[in-house]
C-alpha cells in the first residue's frame, strides 16, 4: 500500500513509446495509438479498420460531431466552472483544444516519466480511433449567473442564446441540468468516448468540475438503415440535408449575428428523456402507431396509400378518412414535429438511446404503483442556428399536445452555444475570451 515504493521493473518499452508519442511521432500517420512503437514491439493493431477514414479532422470552419454522420456511441458531459478568473477558463479551453487535437487523431496525451501519473489513462491504447469527435459548448451561466456577469462575457452573449423556458411536463433534476461548459464525445466505441471525456475532466482539475453526464448508443444497424429507437420505431428519417450548404447555413450554422466567436457555430439542446417503456410496451400496436403517426414496421406515415410506401413517403397531414377525420391524428408526434405545422421550423436531430439500468419510480398510470423500472430513453440532442426558432419553437407546442407525452419525461439537460470551429494554433472560443 506504500505509494512511495521505488519503481520496479521499470517499463522502458512503455516509457520510450510514450516519449515518442509526446513528441508527436506516434499515431499520427496510421491513426493507431500504438503505431510507431519501437521495432522490438510490433504494432499491436494491423487491421483493415485502421484506415484514416476512421479518423475525422478536428480543425475546420465548424466543430466536428455536428453534421458528421452519426457514430455508434456518445458521452455527453456538462461542467461547472470552479474559478472566478477568466484567464483560467480561457486556459482550460486552450488545454481542451490541444487535447482534442490529439484525442480525435488517435494520439495519446503522452507521458515521459514513470514517476508521474500518466497524462493519458491509457484505456484506449491500441484501440482504433473509432471516428472520435469532440464538440464543445458554453452554457448560459458562463455569461450570466444569478444576475452576475461572472467573467465579463455578458456583453458578448448572443441574442439567440436565451435561457430555455420551462416547458409543460418538464421534470428536470438539478443534478442533471445545466452547466457552464459542455462536451459531447461521439465515436464508434463506448470506451473511446468515455475515455476522451475522462481525459478532459482531468485537464479541468481546479478550474471546472463535472456536473452531469449521459452516455448513449445507437443500435448497430447497417449504416444505410434508419435505426430504431427503444420504442421500436425508426428514428431520424427526416432531418435537414446536411450535404446542402444552403440548408445548413440557414438552419444550423450561425452567421455574423452572434459575434465573431459564434460565426460558423451552432446551438445544441441536449435533454435526457426518460421513456416509460413498460407502459409503452403495454399499448396495442395500432395505438403506438397512431401516437407516432407512422407504421411501426415500415416507418411509413399512416397517411400513405400507395403500393410501395416506406419511411421516406411524404407525410400527408391533410389526408382524411371517410368520416372526415384526419388519418394522422391531431396530436400525433409526426404532425407536431413537422415543419409544416411549425412555420417551417427545423432542427438537426442527433440523439442517442440511453440505458441507465433500472430505478424505483412512482408510475404515472394505473395502478399507480411504485416499481423498479427501466431507467432508459432518449438522449435527445439537436442542433440549430437559433434555438428560439428551432427547439423552443417546436417543443413549446409539442410539450403541450403530443400524444407521446404520456410516455416520456424530460429529466434534465440544457442549451449550450457551440462556438465556430478551430483553426490550427488557436483555441476554442478564443474570439470570445480575447474580444
Amino acid at each position: 500500500m506504500d505509494q512511495n515504493h521505488q519503481p520496479r521493473g521499470c517499463p522502458m518499452a512503455s516509457r520510450r513509446f510514450l516519449l515518442a508519442a509526446a513528441a508527436g511521432l506516434a499515431g499520427a500517420a496510421a491513426g493507431a495509438r500504438l503505431a510507431g512503437a519501437e521495432p522490438d514491439h510490433p504494432p499491436l493493431i494491423k487491421t483493415a479498420s485502421l484506415t484514416t477514414d476512421r479518423l475525422l479532422p478536428f480543425h475546420g470552419r465548424h466543430q466536428n460531431g455536428i453534421v458528421t454522420p452519426q457514430q455508434g456511441h456518445t458521452y455527453f458531459a456538462a461542467f461547472d466552472i470552479a474559478t472566478d478568473k477568466r484567464a483560467e477558463v480561457a486556459g482550460l479551453l486552450r488545454r481542451w483544444t490541444q487535447a482534442a487535437e490529439k484525442l480525435t487523431q488517435g494520439q495519446p496525451l503522452g507521458s515521459d516519466d514513470p514517476n508521474t501519473p500518466p497524462p493519458d489513462s491509457g484505456d484506449v491504447l491500441g484501440l482504433p480511433p473509432s471516428r472520435l469527435t469532440l464538440t464543445f459548448g458554453l452554457g448560459p451561466t458562463l455569461f450570466t449567473k444569478d444576475g452576475a456577469d461572472r467573467f465579463g462575457l455578458a456583453k458578448h452573449r448572443p441574442e439567440a442564446f436565451v435561457d430555455l423556458p420551462r416547458f409543460v411536463g418538464d421534470q428536470l433534476v438539478p443534478e442533471r441540468t445545466g452547466g457552464d461548459l459542455s462536451v459531447q464525445a461521439c465515436g464508434d466505441d463506448p470506451q473511446a468516448t468515455m475515455s476522451a471525456v475522462r481525459q478532459l475532466m482531468r485537464l479541468a482539475y481546479g478550474v471546472a468540475t463535472i456536473r452531469w453526464v449521459q452516455n448513449g448508443f445507437l443500435a448497430g444497424y447497417d449504416p444505410k438503415i434508419t435505426p430504431r429507437n427503444l420504442m421500436g420505431f425508426k428514428d431520424g428519417t427526416f432531418n435537414p440535408d446536411v450535404k446542402d450548404p444552403k440548408i445548413t447555413d440557414r438552419l444550423i450554422w450561425a452567421g455574423d449575428e452572434g459575434g465573431a466567436w459564434m460565426r460558423g457555430g451552432t446551438y445544441v439542446v441536449a435533454r435526457p428523456i426518460r421513456i416509460a417503456l413498460e407502459h409503452w410496451d403495454r399499448m396495442k400496436l395500432s395505438f403506438q402507431e397512431q401516437t407516432i403517426g407512422r407504421e411501426k414496421r415500415s416507418g411509413a406515415p399512416l397517411s400513405a396509400t400507395g403500393a410501395h410506401n416506406d419511411e421516406f413517403t411524404p407525410i400527408d397531414l391533410d389526408a382524411n378518412d371517410r368520416d372526415g377525420n384526419p388519418i394522422i391524428p391531431e396530436n400525433a408526434h409526426v404532425r407536431l414535429a413537422a415543419p409544416q405545422t411549425n412555420d417551417g421550423a427545423q432542427i438537426l436531430r442527433r440523439g442517442y438511446s440511453y440505458d441507465n439500468g433500472v430505478s424505483l419510480v412512482a408510475e404515472r398510470w394505473p395502478p399507480w404503483r411504485h416499481a423498479v423500472e427501466l431507467d432508459a430513453g432518449l438522449l435527445f440532442v439537436c442542433y440549430q442556428r437559433d434555438p428560439r426558432t428551432g427547439f423552443i419553437k417546436i417543443f413549446d407546442r409539442m410539450s403541450k399536445f403530443d400524444m407521446l407525452n404520456q410516455f416520456v419525461t424530460h429529466v434534465g439537460g440544457g442549451l449550450f452555444a457551440c462556438p465556430g470551429g478551430v483553426a490550427p494554433g488557436r483555441y476554442l472560443a478564443q474570439d470570445l475570451f480575447e474580444a
Copy 2:
C-alpha cells in the same frame, strides 16, 4: 390521448409480417429479424455481417454465453420472485426458455393483432442478431429465504451452492445485490442485449419483478488483442483454456455432484466493482504497474527479463531484485490472483467494463472531499464448478491484501447457479422443478 381510437391506417404490412414471424416463417433461415418479409417489402438488411456465424445456438449440454468467445456488450439482470406458487416459477422458466430460443436466433416473439400490445417491443427489428446469448441462473434465495423452503426446492440445493460470505471491504447496496433469478444477455450490440432482457421482464409480469441490472461493454479491440480495462491495463490475459474439455470439466462444468439439474451447469459470481478512476489516474505509472504486477503498455509481468516479453510471458513470482525483495510485490494483484498462490484455484473470468455516468461520493483519500465522480468500473463476472474452491477461495485473500483494494469497491452482485443446457422441447431447470 384516447387509447380506444379505432385503429387507423391499419398496418397490414406489419401485421402480415408479424403473423409470418409468429408462425416461425421469418428470420429463422437468414437470421435477420426481417428476412422472409413479404415480397413487396424487400428485406431491410442484406449485409455480409448477416451470416449465420453471428447466430449462436441456444440448445446444448451447457448454457451458452459461458465459454462463448466474449461479445462486446452485456446486460446482467436479477429478478425477485413475486409468487409463492412453484408451478408459476416453472411456468416462467418455460416461457423464458421458449423466448430465448427465438431471441437468440434473431426471431421476434411474434404478434398477429394490431389490437393487442406487440409481444416483442420491436426495437431490434432488422438488426443483425449480434451473437446474442442468454444465460440463466437461480439465486440461493429461490431455495431458502429467511429460513423458509419457499418452493420445496431446498433439498435439491447443491452443497457447492453456498451463500457468498461477507468479504473484507464489501459495501454491497441492497438494491444492487442478490436476487432469486438471474439472466445475462451478451451480444455485439447494446440495444440487442437490453432488448432481450426487456422482453424477458415482460414475460415475468405477475411472477417476478426486476431487482437490479447492470450493463457493460468491452472496448472494441481487434478480437486477437486482449482488451484494456478502464484502468488502462490489459484484462483477461490468463483464463482457463475453454477449448480443452479436460480443463472445462474440472474448473467450469458441474458433474453429478449437484443433482441432475446442475449436470453440465456452473456457478456464476457477478459483482459490479466501482473503481475510483480519478484516484487511480493520479497515481504515477510505476505505482500503477506495481499494484497490478504488470507493465501497463505491454502487459508483461514485472518479473519478465527477456528481450521479447509480452502479456503471455509467464509470471515469475519467485524473482527477486538485488536486495532480495520480490520483483512482483507481495500484495500485487497478479500475485494474489495467481493459481500458484491459491492452491491451484482458477475461475473463468468474463467481465465487462461498466459506465453508470457520475454520482456524488465521499472520497476515501485525502482531502476526503465530497465530489461528483465517475460511477464506473468493472462488472466482474466469473464462472466456476464450485464457488467454494473458485471465487470464494481466491477473493477471500485478495479482499484482505490486494493493493488494488484502495481503488476498488464491490457494491453489489450475487452468486447464481446456472443449470445445465436445455434440449429442444424442454425448459431450463426442468429437472429441478419436476424432480
